[in-house]
């Protein structure tokens, strides 16, 4: 049996976290989800319950999703991360590329969540 996949979902919008979490669970069985509503809370959560992959919003109170990505990569350079954001400026997309973060566009949809899971944690 495959070990449980742990997914960190970080978004200041509660409804977006709820939708992402529900879609992840409907697509993949046996997934544990850890939610956080800002970067600081996400870092604390990741230290307490290390997750395998992370799905991050960009525009949040406090640190941005890309700043959070840099912190998460300092904790674990191999952690696959996705930026799921409405901020689809080329400059943000380029900085995500430089940080090694996959870029996906909001709104939260099952198709997009499926692509994120296939990219960050392909099933064997």
């Amino acid at each position: 049996m495959n070990p449980l996949l742990k997914v960190l979902v970080v978004d200041d919008s509660r409804v977006s976290r709820m939708m992402s979490s529900a879609m992840i669970k409907s697509i993949r069985a046996g997934v544990e989800i850890v939610e956080a509503d800002n970067g600081d809370a996400a870092l604390l959560a990741q230290k307490a319950t290390p997750c395998d992959i992370g799905i991050l919003d960009m525009n949040m109170p406090g640190m941005t999703g890309l700043e959070l990505a840099a912190h998460l990569h300092r904790l674990n350079p191999d952690m696959p991360l996705a930026l799921l954001t409405a901020n689809v400026q080329d400059s943000v997309r380029n900085r995500a590329d430089e940080e090694g973060v996959h870029f996906f566009r909001k709104p939260v949809r099952e198709e997009v969540i499926g692509q994120i899971l296939d990219t960050l944690a392909p099933q064997r």
Partner: protein
């Protein structure tokens, strides 16, 4: 000076904001095309959000005195059974070149319908009520950022924004609280769902220096 005073003291034929800014037809046309592109982007995102194909009206772009904008919104506000509008506002700054308060406005009833569609058929009335403010903020965030990202990519200029603020109020209060500029750049697009007409405004509220700077970016973009 109040709007009533402004009206009382207005000349017989008031100059339009475009005339006061000395904008040519070509500049106005280029501005319309810029917003056409960005509002089209926002509409595509909106369609994904409500999980339904939507019919779009032709976007219109106007420079209006603030009092005229309030009159327009009052017409929109009175079209529904409740006389309030829902607004989601974010302030953007384009690397010091221009700044704008960008506001997405729906009649209050329409905004609730959009939340229902975003959350899906399984969402109970209790859930919708509990998540309404958060969902509206996220809807505004997605649509407004779609719009501003498009403008950023066209101008090749990074634009930073604040987090969305949701306010439900009458049109006069909404505009008076958010808009200090005398002239307002108003880009409007109608978005109609199959079973429920939803008409939304996107407003770009800029002061005169910002409008001039914005026009400068457009001139550079279109080489005019």
């Amino acid at each position: 000076m109040s709007i009533a005073d402004e009206t009382k003291h207005a000349p017989a034929r008031a100059t339009t904001p475009a005339e006061r800014l000395a904008m040519s037809d070509l500049q106005l046309d280029a501005m319309a095309e810029t917003f056409n592109l960005s509002l089209g982007e926002a509409a595509a995102v909106f369609s994904q959000l409500v999980q339904e194909e939507i019919e779009l009206s032709v976007p219109t772009v106007e420079l209006l005195p603030r009092a005229a904008l309030i009159e327009r919104l009052e017409i929109m506000q009175d079209s529904g059974p409740h006389s309030r509008l829902c607004s989601i506002t974010q302030r953007f700054d384009a690397a010091g070149a221009f700044h704008t308060d960008t506001m997405l406005i729906f009649p209050e009833d329409d905004s609730l319908e959009i939340v229902r569609r975003m959350l899906g058929d399984e969402a109970t009335a209790e859930t919708i009520s509990e998540l309404e403010q958060d969902a509206l903020a996220e809807i505004g965030n997605i649509i407004i950022n779609g719009c501003m990202s498009s403008i950023s990519n066209l101008f090749r200029k990074e634009i930073t924004g604040t987090l969305p603020e949701v306010v439900i109020n009458d049109s006069r209060t909404l505009i008076m609280e958010h808009c200090t500029a005398d002239d307002v750049l108003v880009a409007r697009i109608g978005m109609h769902l199959a079973v429920h007409n939803v008409s939304g405004f996107v407003l770009f509220m800029m002061d005169i220096p910002s409008i001039r700077s914005f026009v400068g970016e457009i001139e550079h973009l279109f080489d005019i």
